[in-house]
């Protein structure tokens, strides 16, 4: 298995995509530090939404985005300002889209280039292949998630000083509690690859599918205003769940999210391996 991991790392460091993934992560960290506010892809973060609504009532014609974010920050207490790194870590759902590309680079490329047949025909069996790919993807994903925290922490410290910084240990703890859920999402992406065995289908489901899901769930909530949706959206919709884990952790919520993440990993791995075991390699 170690040989398979070594080979994948050899290949990954020679592909541009991995550098692009880390570059995007750094750009996001710089922007968040510069604007003193996390960026959010996809469904708007609820707390940021509330802040924005409040500000938009106070100002008639905002000149630019930076002005809005400055007003948001000016309204914050000193304690809230110190929580900026936790807000940024809370928006780690952004990393999902980067993890989509990690999975593509490590695993989907094998199927789309059909290189998998070389490995399975004369190197190893499917079980070992499955485990080694998962190990590489999880390894790079964990590296990305923690590097995101370190990079933001460093840049934020340089640009904004201690006024906008919590301790590094607090930031790392906030990142660590998110890991099961983020790795759970990663394992679902891996499952999609084994189910579809196609680069195009994988991209469609992993990117467009998730945006569509978020749109449907947000619209349903906006239209129905049902309490059950409100509870779900504020607690267990993944973006919100991640935000709460980092920014306002509660023991019960943390336990539920950890179990959910581990459950996703277990279920995706079992289904994924069984599908892969029976699939024809073309």
């Amino acid at each position: 298995m170690l040989n398979l991991v070594r080979a994948d790392l050899f290949r990954i460091v020679r592909s541009k995509s991995i550098y692009l993934i880390f570059l995007v992560m750094i750009v996001m960290a710089v922007l968040s530090a510069a604007l003193k506010c996390p960026g959010v892809i996809g469904k708007s973060n609820i707390s940021t939404n509330d802040d924005l609504n409040k500000i938009s009532e106070e100002i008639e014609e905002p000149d630019n985005v930076k002005e809005i974010f400055e007003m948001i920050n000016n309204n914050k207490s000193d304690e809230a300002k110190k929580k900026l790194p936790l807000e940024v870590i809370g928006s780690n759902m952004n990393l999902y889209y980067l993890i989509v590309f990690i999975v593509y680079a490590v695993l989907t490329a094998d199927f789309s280039n059909k290189c998998i047949k070389n490995t399975l025909s004369s190197v190893t069996n499917r079980k070992m292949y499955f485990v080694s790919k998962m190990a590489v993807i999880f390894g790079i994903a964990i590296l990305l998630i923690f590097m995101n925290t370190f990079v933001f922490f460093g840049i934020n410290y340089i640009l904004n000083g201690t006024r906008y910084s919590c301790s590094l240990l607090t930031a790392l703890k906030a990142t660590a509690v998110q890991l099961p859920l983020l790795l759970g999402l990663t394992s679902v992406l891996i499952l999609i690859v084994y189910m579809t065995r196609s680069g195009v289908l994988y991209n469609s489901i992993a990117i467009a599918g998730v945006l569509l899901f978020q749109l449907i769930i947000t619209l349903t909530y906006e239209i129905t205003k049902l309490k059950i949706f409100d509870t779900f959206m504020r607690n267990y919709e993944i973006q919100e769940a991640l935000y709460k884990l980092a920014y306002a952790p509660e023991q019960k919520h943390t336990i539920i999210c950890t179990i959910a993440g581990l459950g996703m990993i277990l279920a995706s791995s079992l289904i994924g391996y069984n599908v892969f075991k029976r699939s024809e390699i073309k």
Partner: protein, 306 residues
Amino acid sequence: MKENILVTRGLSKKYNNFTALESADITVRKGDIYALIGRNGAGKTTLMKLITGLTAKSGGEFQLFSNKDSDVEGSKHRIGCLIENPAFFEELTVYSNLKYYALQKGISDMKQIDEALEMVNLMEAKNKKFRNLSLGMKQRLGIALAFLDNPDLVILDEPINGLDPIGISELRETFSQLNREKNITFIISSHILSELYLIANRFLFIEKGRIVREITRDELDRECMRCIVIKTNNNKKAAAMLEEILSISDYKVIDDSEIRIYDYSISPAAINSALVKNGLDISALYETGITLEEYFKSLIGGNENA
């Protein structure tokens, strides 16, 4: 007795109602260059995929290097493969692509990569990206990968597709040399029968998933070679007369009514005369001889090219 490298018994593959391979019984021995011959969709690639674990069997069993099919994983490092089109990472160079698989196989001596590239005359393209290679170069890279790590068994599916005549000739010589010097066993499929004929020592004819015939090179030569065909009402008597009266021993009784004589020292007219004089009814006597393509067509009963 040579060691059996591959033995299949009743090996089958079905896709819903379509039978891709039906009850295949074959034996490949160490040092064989085993040719798979069949039309498109005949089942050649399916057989190769079954052996290499790229698809699951529907029935039967096989042994690879004396390991049962459920336990062949330990033998995988002894196999080199090129099945269907060569598949590599587009953005990596020729060398990096081979290094990726060398690392997977746990090869520590990277000189093996250069040796494999030299073997297929691809050293000059070592630093070219895979996406920039010509079809023939891609094919040669696939063959280089199959030879990486000194395999005992090399499985090549249409290996000379896209190669120019000189490239084909060079590869043919490489295969023969490796077979001779390192006793590497080959299983090769190709549409170009004349090429297979030049290197293979055993032939397997497949049609519509069924094995039509497994034959050695000597047997094939005999079946295809020029001969005199005699059709009589009493083959037993005819065979005895050929030996006793005409002293012909190089003949073969094909079935109840047909004998083939490969000995041309006695003319067809003399044979006819001797047999008739001794009271045998001859319904036909003619000379024949067929090409490999004609033989293949006669086996599968079709008119299309392989």
